[in-house]
Amino acid sequence: MLPLSAYVAVSAVLFVIGLLGVLIRRNFIIVLMSVEIMLNAANINLVAFSYYLESMAGQLVALFIIAIAAGEAAIGLAIIIVVFRGKLSTNVDEMNLLKW
């Protein structure tokens, strides 16, 4: 049987890759995809702990996270479409309308 830390380590690596993607990419759609990577890393963690600690709570929270990710993707992509209509660009550096 694999140790729990193997799953946690994979999930940590995925989370860091996703965080890096949010920080360094300039395309807003790829930034949202990186957020999905981070949510998946959290899901792996939750399901692994749910298996090793013999509780169903982790799997249920992972299920709710998938639902939240669906909502986040829908709203984020709608915002991208609105911004793209005005600016013809999805570059995060050019989205500074709300910046003070």
Partner: protein, 173 residues
């Protein structure tokens, strides 16, 4: 045998995540994300979570990813020459060092904790789907309803945001 599958899924999902972040063409990034999602669903099979595996394939790979690819095709983006931030080199070394340190800490820790009341034998008796269903519609009913209302709000919000504005609503400038 589980170790072989685990290392395959781990290597492939990390490689796919790196490609999602690093590739130039956004459509290629979306396809790399698809590979990542499918390999993450492999972890769920290893962890006796068959229902989550199905949800991951149907909802994530089937619905969310198609939404991303749909918007990518709709917008018809040009590939930027500079697709990273100009300062991205400053992030790479700290990220590498930090993740190595976190992995070192994680591999050392024992992760003992209070066991719940759902051991593998009890889950496998009726299947994972039955176990999740009973738990969700008894202890987690309120959360389930909240997620339903949240999804309704997300649908309405997405429609309102993405609707084409009527001509008399346009700013006159």
């Amino acid at each position: 045998m589980i170790a072989v599958f685990f290392s395959y899924f781990a290597l492939m999902s990390i490689a796919a995540a790196a490609m999602t972040v690093a590739l130039k063409n956004p459509v290629h990034c979306g396809l790399a994300l698809l590979a990542l999602l499918l390999h993450v669903s492999g972890f769920f099979v290893l962890l006796n979570a068959e229902f989550l595996w199905a949800v991951q394939v149907i909802v994530y790979a089937g619905a969310i990813l198609v939404l991303y690819l749909f918007v990518l095709m709709l917008l018809n983006l040009k590939t930027d020459e500079r697709y990273f931030h100009s300062t991205f080199m400053y992030f790479l070394t700290p990220a590498l060092l930090g993740s190595l340190y976190v992995i070192y800490l994680l591999l050392r820790s024992p992760f003992a904790g209070a066991k719940g009341n759902a051991p593998t034998v009890a889950i496998l008796q009726d299947g994972d789907t039955a176990a999740i269903g009973i738990k969700m519609f008894s202890d987690y009913l309120l959360q389930f309803e909240i997620v339903g209302v949240f999804l309704l709000g997300a649908i309405i919000g997405a429609i309102v945001l993405a609707k084409t504005p009527k001509p008399h609503n346009l700013r006159k400038d």
